[in-house]
């Protein structure tokens, strides 16, 4: 890297200790019918350790694609992504990934799913059991250890899916609209639980959503993306204090400010979008 040494600043993310550094990334998909399709253009983004970053944007703007690039599921067309200073090439096994649908392994029980990422090399049998037990309790799934995913409700599988990614303690968790298909109440409960877990663990989270309230309520910073090909329109800092009360989030100081800034940008975006 040819970066000049920067003075560490309190407010602006410093490039030096960023856990994820997205450098001028473009992603183009080749489709058989429509030729090439630009999904992402010139993405520049630094994410600091312990940060909770949400990514919002209109549907099809490449939010999920960005996560998939960070996870290394596919490669960047141009530019590169640095993870803890190293370029992501191939699967990035240092991140946890929570997909849109829960995608628990249906042939494994809840406890087997949660323990799936706990490799015997890193965890002894006793540690493994302790870890599984801890995270199952954290997710409020005690008593359901021996259940198969098909026997769980949507909210329960969602929680199991999240702690499956947390259990093996990757430094970064990527979440792709994890609460998307849930009903409003379950969603709020899960947002609350996610924040509580995060406040204990302080892992870095990159959370993709299309819900503006959710984006503001959870985040330290909200990354706003434009229509396809997705570009970063703005990054909004959320100044609300923590711990936050999800159920009364509208009344917290700083919510309105961040939300109205976000909405202004978004309204603009929507106008562009309606041809």
């Amino acid at each position: 890297m040819l970066d000049l040494p920067q003075a560490p600043s309190q407010t602006a993310p410093s490039a030096n200790n960023a856990v994820i550094k997205v450098e001028n990334v473009c992603k183009v998909f080749q489709t058989p019918s429509q030729g090439s399709l630009g999904a992402l253009a010139n993405i520049e983004l630094d994410i600091l350790p312990g940060e909770f970053v949400t990514v919002v944007g209109p549907s099809g703007c490449g939010k999920s694609t960005l996560l998939r690039l960070i996870a290394g599921f596919s490669g960047c067309s141009t530019g590169r992504i640095l993870f803890q200073g190293e370029e992501v090439r191939g699967l990035n096994t240092k991140v946890g990934y929570v997909p849109q649908e829960s995608k628990l392994f249906p042939w494994l029980t809840v406890e087997e799913n949660v323990g799936f990422g706990l490799s015997p090399k890193r965890y002894s049998r006793a540690d493994r059991d302790k870890q599984i037990d801890y995270f199952i309790h954290l997710a409020g799934l005690a008593g359901f250890e021996k259940y198969y995913p098909a026997q769980l409700s949507g909210g329960m599988s969602k929680r199991a899916s999240i702690v499956r990614a947390l259990a093996y303690e990757p430094p970064v968790i990527l979440m792709d609209e994890p609460f998307g298909p849930l009903d409003a109440q379950t969603r709020m409960v899960l947002q609350d639980e996610l924040l509580k877990i995060w406040e204990q663990k302080r892992q870095t989270i990159v959370f993709v959503t299309h819900d503006l309230v959710e984006a503001v309520a959870l985040a330290d910073r909200v990354v706003v993306m434009t229509h396809r090909p997705g570009q970063i329109k703005d990054i909004i800092k959320v100044t609300m204090t923590r711990p936050r009360n999800i159920f009364e989030i509208h009344r917290q100081e700083g919510f309105d400010e961040a939300y109205s800034r976000l909405w202004t940008i978004f309204r603009h975006e929507l106008n562009i979008g309606t041809h």
């Binding site: 699967l91 946890g96 995608k103 392994f105 490799s119 098909a150 026997q151 949507g154 329960m156």
Partner: protein
Amino acid sequence: MPEEISQKTRQLTSSRSLATALGKSALSLRSFYIALFRTSIIVGFLLLWHIASGPWIEPFLISSPTRIFSSLIEGFTAGDLLQHTWVTFQEIAIGFPVGAIAGIALGYAFGRSKLLAEIFEPIIIALNGIPRTALAPLFIVWLGIGLWSKVGVVFLLTFFLNFFNTYTGMRQMDQEYVDLARLMGVKGWKLTFKVIFPAISPYVFTGIRTSIPFSVIGAIVGEFVAATEGVGFFIRMSAGIFRTADVFVGIIVLMIMVIIMDKIAALIERRALRWQTQTEHIQIQA
């Protein structure tokens, strides 16, 4: 969170709760009537057969249930039916597992390697176009009239069905499961046996279970072409000397063989796929 126990949990337990709701006696009464109805159809058919044989239709054409039953007993006690059954069983016991395992392994390999699939897929499909039983005479030429030519035909019939089902499973498999598992640092044999095989296991079992009757067909066709023993040989020989009852006896032995094999496979399948929600009978009306 008892309120969160899902619809599906209820579905899973609903047959049990149905039993408690109706009361045990009501449910067992229902299954009793079903069994009664089923039995009376079978008994009625056999009775009709028995009556028809003789006055209406020549017994040497359709034999009769009583004659078949006594031939069955006689065949196993006095005759060499047990030996014939043993021979056919051996052919299947060797050809079927080898064919199934080879088919599953190749289907898996094709699913893993795009290159392999691209090179060989058209060839396999072309080979599949051959009516495989037509190859039975060739197997006799190659492997003689003994055990191994029949094992070959059984293998061939079993192999393709298992191959195609496993390969279809590999192609239908959700990529995201593999991606997630690999992201969690799982690879090698653990990826194969903890993720890929469980994911495709419904397809694998479909392959195994559909190939069971075909493996028996393979053995019989082989024996029809050229053999000195086996149930197929027994059927052909009996038909040749118009011992129609014995023909039916042979058919019954084969049928029982298929049923036993299928029951065993179903048992294993139920254990292996116990994580799947059992689809109950679809109800159109509430």
